[in-house]
Subunit: 426 residues, 2 copies
């Protein structure tokens, strides 16, 4: 069978690891794909930078700086897009599909935003658009959802989708948020600007890609409740320990009779929960459906090598002709706020160390019928601050109920710091 000729766009961490893996596993790749995978073009931004391309990597390895040259090269069978960003990759992917090429990408942003256009085009052109590496790096969750489980509705998805946040939350057992973030950056897990990760937006993009397979359409990110971990404090983690709860940033998708609850937020989960022991930069996805009960997939959610592993698996599927099946858009479902399902909540406020303050907090909660199950106000041992933390465990309420109650607190209560409010998913 003829060689499968690919062009690598981008030779950063992931691209370099892809080249190394293709070179070091040539025989195994040939056995799996039934044909040789050769890298005929490599597109980089700066040709003068020294590159460590393995000598034994098969193919012409022609270096260039113009992705469109590769996209329009009729000798190339597949484009492997590892550049990132939204607009340029959208063009490259579109033109590659239009010129009859297979596309493999690790770029969640372009698919979360322009996915509908690109999936439809792939379907129309009968080409594969492979994107396993864009969600949960090494975990082959897309393939399992597309082929490994039976067809038919998945009732619930619960996922730890951001390795950086999971790493930081683990670190908070021993460190402040600032130290934890710094450790994540030093471990090469967090960007210099970690905003996308810690605001939950990266998890939301991944949840949207997972939901695309389960729901058949792309949910706009602004329809989702997306909350991050910016305000989480070691105090919150240790409260969890005392209650046998673990704090995780989770993406939730849950169908009910009226629509699909979907969103991203930090949640406490019981210490016996299947995802409670997901540590460091691991990702994990729990799927639940009647025919198979529950299924958990867990593995590395970040890093050049784990991501490259999924890219190479996709390249081999493309070479073999096993198409991924992301169907064109179906009818849209109603998206609901997962916060509407009643749940116990944990609440932490910094309040002034003055008489009457607790009564005002309790009053605000009472006015929205939020029941208090437990409350702890610590003693003020600081000589500097005149505020104390109050930690509250509520009876089951809807998240918006609690938000309205917090909104009623007057300014001198709210101005010390934003209250932290975390759902407990049992």
């Amino acid at each position: 069978m003829e060689d499968f000729r690919i062009a690598l766009l981008g030779l950063g961490n992931v691209g370099t690891a892809v080249a190394e893996l293709l070179a070091s596993t040539q025989d195994a790749c040939l056995a799996r794909a039934g044909r040789r995978v050769v890298v005929d073009r490599i597109v980089v931004r700066d040709l003068t930078r020294p590159r460590a391309i393995p000598e034994n990597l098969p193919g012409k390895k022609q270096m260039g700086t113009d992705p469109l040259e590769a996209v329009h090269d009729p000798e190339i069978d597949a484009i492997v897009e590892l550049v990132g960003g939204e607009n340029h990759p959208r063009t490259w992917i579109r033109e590659s599909l239009e010129s009859g090429k297979e596309v493999i990408t690790a770029n969640k942003a372009v698919l979360a935003v322009h996915g509908e256009e690109l999936f439809n085009l792939a379907h129309e052109k009968q080409r594969g658009l492979y994107y396993e590496a864009s969600v949960a790096a090494a975990v082959p969750v897309l393939q399992v959802m597309q082929q490994g489980i039976p067809a038919g509705p998945v009732d619930r998805l619960f996922g730890i989708l951001n390795g950086t946040c999971n790493f930081i939350l683990d670190q908070l057992e021993m460190h402040s948020f600032e130290e934890a973030l710094k450790n994540a950056q030093e471990a090469g897990l967090a960007e210099a600007d970690p905003t996308l990760d810690i605001t939950g937006m990266d998890s939301a993009h991944k949840l949207i890609l997972l939901a695309r397979i389960l729901l058949g359409h792309t949910v706009p990110v602004d329809e989702l409740r997306v909350e991050g971990i910016e305000n989480i404090d070691p105090l919150d983690i240790s409260f969890g320990w005392s209650q046998d709860l673990k704090l995780k940033l989770v993406g939730i998708l849950e169908r009910n009779g009226r629509g699909t609850c979907m969103g991203v937020m930090p949640c406490f989960i019981p210490a016996q929960h299947r995802l409670a022991n997901v540590r460091n930069e691991d990702n994990a996805i729990l799927l639940e459906a009647d025919p198979f009960g529950s299924l958990v997939l867990q593995g590395k959610g970040a890093g050049g090598k784990p991501t490259a592993g999924s890219v190479v698996a996709d390249i081999l599927r493309a070479a073999r002709g096993d198409s991924s099946s992301t169907p064109p858009a179906g009818k849209e479902t109603v998206i609901l706020d997962p916060g509407m399902r009643p749940a116990r909540h944990y609440l932490r406020l910094e309040v002034p160390d003055r008489p009457g303050v607790l009564a005002r907090v309790a009053g605000a909660l009472a006015s929205e019928e939020v029941g208090i199950a437990a409350l702890e106000q610590s003693e003020n041992l600081s000589e500097v601050h005149d505020s104390v933390p109050v930690q509250i465990l509520t009876h089951p309420v809807q998240t918006p109920q609690l938000d309205r109650a917090l909104g009623q607190l007057d300014e001198d209560l709210r101005n010390i710091s934003s209250p932290v409010r975390i759902r407990i998913e049992e």
Copy 2:
């Protein structure tokens, strides 16, 4: 596209669940496979038994008792073998492949014994032989190993592969072995004759199928160390609790420079281990390799519906033409005893309540240079027995060292009950 015409051989728990799932998810199946799946033939042993075949199941649903009629029907595209056993299924699968049909089976025994012949034939005839449901029921571990992870060596596989045993070991926290087994039978998880499960032989068959993908050849079961859970006692489980260890029946495959360690045995694993919290009839497989680090897949390992889920996923892959890739046999690897890797061991003996006994046990261990890290002999509170349990934790030794030491114990020590010896996999 033309309908995909299948014949169901067998309409027990799994077959009935397959029919129900195909009927209830028709639209989703059509969307995934790109064509309709129709059940044109159903082969059962006894036509007079009442059957609950869904009315809306698409296809002719022609009932018969002769599997070969279906196998030789040129209108049938795929045979779904759900009968079990070795010899008959071997013939049906072989003749189906020879007549150009795809084959889907949930039958691990036939593949563990006759796999080489059948995989080679499938390869030669360019037909798919799908068997996801035969290992870890609902967990799509074969597909992940064949397509989801990059090609190239997997360094280590560690798996809980038998749901019945896992259920029984869980139950031993509160019940005797006899009660635990009875509960498993009442839950529909253990056969009336549970020998295959509790001796570890069922896990060994599954490990052989997993190894077939990783090693490229079928390892004969008699080359493996296979130990079961027949002699495990609640005493052993509670010893584990005291040391923060959980007892699991595991299949191990681990490559080293000299060959592949492979076997099935009950092991203690640390309570923080990724597989320590696998409960009830769940199965879980941990894969480790350089490119992706580690990957865990966990889900239901037994039951009609979970098994049917994987059968239906395989039917849809076959209908879609996504071939499973189990290559023909490659060169054989050397199989080593996993017990040769030094490890701490736990040991429980029933010894006569007489002076000098402990000295003889200690002497036997010393003669094989087995170091004792901890030892506990309980007081004899029974008025009936004149024996007492001795529980020992050793320093790291090879399992055969320990077996030789135990072999040296004279008859009056050995005759009370077989010593229980469990490796601790850190």
